[in-house]
Symmetry: C2
């Protein structure tokens, strides 16, 4: 028998993610259709690295914040992994660019344009 304890141990803290081929366009668009989730994705794209959940200053409760990150993860937009006591978030840019070339960049560009409109934050 091969030892399974390490894998089980890792698995107990691993969060479920869709495989690349399971990611659906409708789910990605849904994940991006919320102002806070779009803001999270913009910050991840601008940073280009993993960021902890606590990095984001979201004007919502902890449980609402957790919900938004889960929607992003379950729809294949971000990958969430535990590193020590922190839950880190990374944009799944490679997967998204491979599945839907140009989509993420066009959404990010559109978000930039909208933010630059007079009267918008």
């Amino acid at each position: 028998m091969t030892p399974t304890a390490p894998a089980t141990s890792v698995g107990s803290r691993a969060l479920p993610h869709p495989a690349r081929e399971e990611i659906r366009l409708e789910g990605v668009l849904h994940a991006l259709s919320d102002p806070l989730r779009l803001q999270i994705v913009r910050e991840l794209a601008a940073d280009g690295d993993e960021l902890s959940c606590s990095h984001f200053c979201l004007p919502v409760t902890k449980s609402t914040s957790t919900h938004h990150f889960r929607v992003l993860r379950e729809n294949g937009v971000v990958r969430q992994v535990y590193r020590g006591t922190a839950k880190m978030n990374g944009l799944r840019r490679d997967d998204l660019d491979d599945l839907f070339p140009g989509l993420l960049d066009s959404v990010l560009a559109a978000a930039d344009r909208q933010a630059a409109r007079p009267g918008n934050s």
Copy 2:
């Protein structure tokens, strides 16, 4: 006094639409995040002209179909106008391309790629 009857008469059948500057990216993405609504938009884009609601063969009730068209209209993705007894739908491509250059095309291209995946309709 100027005669107002004609305008009022037209107005009573006119449906509310957001002005171009009122269209929000999040609303557009939400409108496109449903499989049936995405299918409607793909057909409108492929046809390039106005299509009546009855043109679309959607596997849902009339009221659900009406709901989907309303979501598309209220988020600035389609323009709905009565022409005689038909409610006609046209993609607001000019408005969307002006606000968010490349966004609609990238979503349509992504939808084409997804539809071409093995096992997808």
